[in-house]
Point group: C2
Chain length 369, copies 2
């Protein structure tokens, strides 16, 4: 395999069509998108651009919805560092779903997981990062009346009994097979799949009746939901449905990673820092301007084009024009990166204002036992 996708490692050139088959998920077909469009009154650009491309039981979610049963959203974040723009992708999409469907949202910050995984981190560190990350989550624009954000360790009285029920139905063998745990793993991280499963069933517990849950998340998180989906029928609960996104490439061409500052733009980066990162990005350009003019660029192998396409340039004609011009050698990488830097710094400016405002609102969102 030329690529690896696990909850803790994504590397290589991911072939998403293959991944769907390997993971046993289903493609988000045009037919499904049309049904979604009907209810939402439109399609989010991430859907039109196939950034969200795969699902489990999303058709079932729509069936239920059409019968008058509302779904609840659940997504999460592992708080081991600052938020970058890639993290925002599923959140922005989740916010859109919340708005279009009036859906409640449970947002899990896995301070326990990140503590267990990072040798050098104390629990205080990951819980604090949880609060930092929560500012970005709130800045995305969720409705405080419909949204609960929580660190696992601060919401454990609610989560732990649900996790206990999932844990009882999950053997070490299963957890080892899915997550690659070894006997040298600590007994916290091997319990963690149960904690990550808990919010799948939280709406059912809190509402006192089986409640459909939809999880928008990057596809590397899919294995966790397999644990939830295995346990659900044994517990008499609905299986959680998922809608999966691809990974955005990092600015250097590899993975976008919070621990590699050059690969990503943090939500707290100053505009000039962000601009510099974008201007240093790997492109699909030729070695010289002359060559580029003559042969044209390779937008299909270009991080900068990907960011335009998936994140910022949602006007179809504009992005088609960018593609065409690049291929024809009419658009130089410097200019294209300048365009992207413009989008990024504009976005950052707005996000940072909302993030600042979130500091005053945070108590309206955070749930603690």
């Amino acid at each position: 395999m030329a690529y690896t996708v696990t909850p803790w490692e994504v590397k290589g050139d991911v072939e998403y069509d293959k991944l769907i088959k390997e993971f046993g998920t289903f493609p988000l077909t045009d037919k499904l998108l049309a049904r979604l469009e009907k209810h939402a009154g439109g399609l989010h650009p991430y859907l039109r651009r196939k950034l969200f491309f795969s699902h489990r039981d999303f058709d079932w979610i729509l069936n239920r919805y059409e019968k008058g049963e509302k779904f609840v959203l659940y997504t999460g974040r592992g708080p081991s560092g600052n938020t970058h723009i890639g993290h925002l992708v599923p959140w922005i999409f989740t916010r859109w779903l919340q708005e279009k469907f009036g859906a409640k949202l449970y947002f899990q910050l896995t301070d326990d997981e990140k503590f267990w995984l990072n040798q050098g981190m104390d629990l205080n560190d990951t819980t604090s990062f949880g609060y930092e990350n929560a500012l970005d989550i709130i800045a995305v624009g969720f409705d405080p009346k419909l949204t609960k954000i929580f660190n696992d360790t601060e919401y454990a009285k609610t989560l732990y009994p649900i996790a206990a029920k999932v844990a009882k139905r999950t053997t070490l063998s299963t957890a080892k097979a899915i997550f690659g745990f070894k006997d040298s793993s600590n007994i916290g991280i091997t319990f963690f799949p149960a904690m990550q499963a808990a919010p799948c069933f939280l709406p059912t517990i809190l509402e006192g009746k089986n409640t459909p849950v939809l999880i928008p998340a990057a596809i590397d998180q899919d294995p966790y939901w397999r644990v939830s989906r295995d346990a659900a029928p044994k517990l008499g609960w609905y299986k959680p449905a998922q809608i999966h996104s691809k990974f955005l490439p990092g600015l250097g061409g590899g993975k976008m990673s919070a621990s590699d500052p050059a690969s990503c733009v943090y939500t707290t980066d100053a505009p000039e820092v962000a601009e510099k990162k974008v201007m240093s990005a790997l492109t699909g350009g030729r070695d010289t301007i002359a060559e580029q003019r003559q042969l044209g660029g390779k937008p299909d192998k270009c991080v900068v084009y990907d960011w335009h396409f998936y994140l910022f340039e949602h006007d179809d004609r504009a992005v088609e024009e960018r593609f065409r011009k690049c291929k024809k050698g009419e658009l130089m990488c410097g200019d294209c990166k300048k365009d992207l830097a413009g989008y990024v710094t504009k976005f950052l400016g707005e996000h940072q204002k909302r993030r600042e405002k979130a500091k005053k609102n945070i108590d309206r969102f955070i749930s603690r036992d």
Copy 2:
């Protein structure tokens, strides 16, 4: 080995001197008992009769105490059924320590553990048994101002972050070696050693400074504290000290077990039921009365004598007299059992009154997050 002692299985004729060596614990010497006696103004009968016989760091607890540092008590119960008289032994002793040393007590009800271990039990079942068992705990006479009793699932916000820290320092290999977990174990029970360790450090967390903790419990629980004691120095916390009791034999001669009604007297048994159980107990008597008169009984191999000796006949002369008379063939088993039944029903009558009263007081003892 002719016997097995693990947290989940005790069988065979336990040789306590050997067990001390195997477990690496220390005998409660007369010298230590004398120091304890000085501070407590006396010795509890369970100490005089060596029902408590082993320890870890109890000398250190006394050193600290002599330097003005008070210790906190911690003990627990796995709520998978009704309480029997054997369960009360460490509690009665813990209450004595509380009274003599003005010590705070944290009493853990491991509803999570028992749920994970018992296939047929729901979490509601074990949590409910926790409340049932709490009535017996309270009936033992603890001071409500110094005592907190909690079910793990209801106190998880407090316990889980502490457990998380222990869990990070405990590998699956260690847990497998100590508890015999297998890959077919569920991921709840393999996490549980961390939850049982958490109250060892709760006083240190709650009081904001390193606080000595003493755990009175049957010696089969010792492996759990090895996990705590391994983790403690890595976390900068005191190791918990322990004082260990032997096991009381069941009425049939084997293990006293809550799941074998004939082996034990439940605290809720009606007097006539308890009497009948005692009258059916295995004794060290001979086959016929004539033989007994001629050869004498075997009090050193007699459950009924053990119950007299350890539990009820705390007057040294009375119990010596009983031993002597039995050996001489002057005491018949029927009479000896009648004596025991008298003690048991008297005790039950008093306990059940206090247990009834506890129903009104339970909220003064139970801690929930």
